[in-house]
């Protein structure tokens, strides 16, 4: 828990170190992506299920709250709640039949779901504004108090991220976490032991969808503009890259992966068109040589360092 508090502290201090507002934008986006990644990490790394359509939940939360607050005129708080709520409901509806599938069938089902949502976002022009996006989303307003400054909004986002991480940790160290580890190791054995695997799989799926939906809601009210291209297949793949890079089972790793993927395009601006190639390469190489991701690599580095030191002292 100490490192979580330290992480939170660093985040709170960060805005003062940044030269201008643009970097703050990147930081906020990084935190939002991290929220998505943490949820997906629970699903992929711990429950052992794959989802190639998680960007759909991100978008569902974002569009629901945008439509309700800008077009229908509900208060921002209510719209946000509705956004997360709808995402949860859809996750349950999709998860129930999908999680019975395994391996590539599940991958395809989630992929198909993600793409259907993506097409819906693009085509229902009257509701979503179509490919040109949804303009004019009200800024985040909580209990009548509008978060006008970006820094305040960032602090809120950072708080929510740390909250999600704390929630995840608690989950993993509880009975649910043990059940997940059992089902990840062998579903049949777990079932034989009386673990209700269908329920636990659904729980984690819905939880990770809720994380994404919440992140989507914050995203919409921060940027005041959303467009379908943010919520398509490529973003789902980026989320997988974040989780894989971080080492599929490591929650802190997922956060690092998320920041890495968010910041990378800024550095690649000089090298156009390399982004896509790089993500593909990362996926392939990581899965082949570094299945524990950066977290695993880091751990191995530490172990190697320790071994060297103790080896040196033994002569």
């Amino acid at each position: 828990m100490i490192w979580l508090a330290a992480f939170f502290g660093v985040l709170m201090l960060a805005p003062t170190l940044l030269p201008n507002n643009y970097y703050l934008t990147i930081l906020i986006l990084g935190c939002l992506h991290a929220m998505n990644a943490v949820g997906l990490c629970l699903l992929v790394g711990h429950a052992g299920q794959i989802s190639l359509g998680h960007a759909g939940f991100y978008g569902l939360g974002a569009y629901t709250t945008s439509y309700l607050s800008a077009t229908v005129g509900l208060s921002v708080g209510l719209s946000m709640l509705a956004g997360v709520g709808l995402t949860v409901v859809v996750a349950v509806l999709v998860g129930l039949p999908s999680l019975k599938l395994k391996g590539h069938y599940l991958a395809m089902a989630t992929l198909g779901f993600g793409i259907i949502l993506s097409i819906l976002f693009t085509e229902t022009v009257d509701i979503t504004g179509g490919p040109s996006g949804f303009v004019g989303i009200p800024r985040l307003t909580l209990f009548g108090w509008e978060l006008r400054k970006d820094v305040t909004l960032f602090r809120l986002v950072a708080l929510v991220l740390c909250l999600f991480v704390w929630l995840s940790f608690n989950l993993l160290h509880s009975r649910v976490g043990r059940a997940l580890r059992a089902l990840h190791t062998s579903e049949r054995a777990a079932e034989a032991m009386g673990v209700d695997i269908a329920n636990y799989k659904l729980l984690v799926f819905v939880l990770s969808a809720a994380f994404s939906g919440f992140a989507g809601v914050l995203y919409a009210h921060y940027l005041t503009f959303i467009a379908p291209s943010s919520f398509g297949f490529m973003f789902s793949v980026e989320l997988i890259v974040m989780v894989v890079l971080g080492g599929m089972v490591s929650v802190p790793g997922a956060i690092v992966g998320a920041f890495f993927v968010t910041v990378l395009p800024e550095f690649l601006r000089a090298f156009e068109n390399v982004e896509v190639l790089l993500f593909g390469a990362i996926l392939v190489l990581c899965m082949m040589f570094l299945p524990d991701g950066m977290a695993g690599g880091w751990r191995r580095l530490l172990d190697w360092g320790k071994a060297r030191l103790s080896g040196a002292s033994h002569g």
Binding site: V44, G48, I50, L52, P97, S98, K100, L101, K102, G103, H104, Y105, A107, M108, A109, L111, G112, F113, I115, I116, I119, L120, E123, F233, V237, I240, V244, N273, V274, E275, V276, L277, L278, F279, G280, A281, I282, L283, V284, M287, M288, P291
Partner: protein, 293 residues
């Protein structure tokens, strides 16, 4: 709706469906030999079309030479993919394989984008533009090429799998790799062969379709996904099911675009996919019922 419109939709559907069928065939061949779903299959289709364009424009080759070279090039790409990305990790859990093949597909797409740019390119039809009028509907000569070549490939593959020793060996690998290797079949070589054949089939599909729909670096995703949907529709593991599934999907999509809404026609393929996966994963002509899932 007048009958000539209906006929027109059917013809368009058959043409597109043949490509879906060829892509689906590629999926099936690899799945049958290795149990792996190769997400990068759609990219082989893209490579067929894009490499043809490249060979024609950059090297100034005539279309027939460019096309043949492109198909060969894509076949080589298939071999490379198997050697570099699949063979080292054959025993990985399913999730890892899925992610790796997705990574490969993105990698190929990224390379295509770097090498050939993001532009759309047109390929000359094999025998001209003049449509053939038939009962009020127009058939492009290219569409006849598509159907003919698809049928030919299907026939050739059937012969290969049931008639030649290599084909039978590949089927043996899919039933039981251990038993196959005990009998002296080089399983690794069969896997390599399966990737090469899939890439070839996919690339041919890409090449014959490109004159009709034009090609660019990102046509692979949608084609691959629809090809997979066609696979499931026809029953995963059944080559004829795959081809039939592709044609059915193409016709459904075309009719949907014509009679319901052209905006959502892409969604139709995925809705069908989802319904199938939830209700009857073994598809229309599926082999076994519950084992696969």
């Amino acid at each position: 709706m007048d009958p000539s419109s209906l006929l027109q939709y059917l013809i368009t559907g058959l043409t597109l469906g043949s490509t879906y069928g060829l892509t689906a065939l590629g999926f099936t061949i690899i799945f049958n030999t290795t149990g792996v779903i190769n997400f990068a299959q759609g990219e082989f289709v893209m490579l067929g079309g894009m490499m043809s364009v490249y060979f024609m424009h950059a090297l100034g080759l005539g279309e027939p030479a460019a096309v043949i070279l492109a198909v060969l090039g894509a076949t080589m790409a298939g071999a490379l993919v198997e050697r570099l990305a699949i063979r080292p990790v054959r025993d990985c859990p399913a999730i890892n394989l899925v992610i790796i093949t997705i990574g490969v597909s993105i990698l190929i797409r990224g390379l295509a984008m770097l090498l050939w740019g993001k532009d759309t390119h047109a390929l000359e039809p094999f025998s001209g533009y003049q449509p053939i009028m038939f009962l009020g509907a127009a058939i492009m000569p290219q569409a006849i090429w598509v159907l003919a070549i698809s049928l030919f490939l299907l026939g050739a593959l059937k012969l290969f799998f049931s008639g030649t020793i290599h084909g039978k060996a590949m089927l043996a690998c899919s039933y039981d790799p251990k038993a196959a290797s005990l009998v002296g079949i080089g399983v690794q070589r069969m896997v390599l062969l399966s990737f090469m054949i899939s890439a070839l089939v996919g690339a041919v599909g890409g090449v014959i379709l490109a004159p009709i729909t034009m090609t660019s670096y990102d046509v692979g995703i949608m084609l691959g996904l629809k090809g997979f949907a066609a696979c499931i529709l026809g029953g995963l593991g059944n080559p004829f099911g795959a081809a039939a599934g592709g044609v059915i999907l193409g016709v459904l999509e075309s009719l949907g675009a014509g009679f319901v809404s052209s905006a959502y026609k892409d969604a139709l393929a995925f809705v069908i996919l989802l319904i199938l996966l939830f209700v009857k994963p073994s598809g229309l002509f599926g082999l076994k019922d519950s084992k696969r899932v």
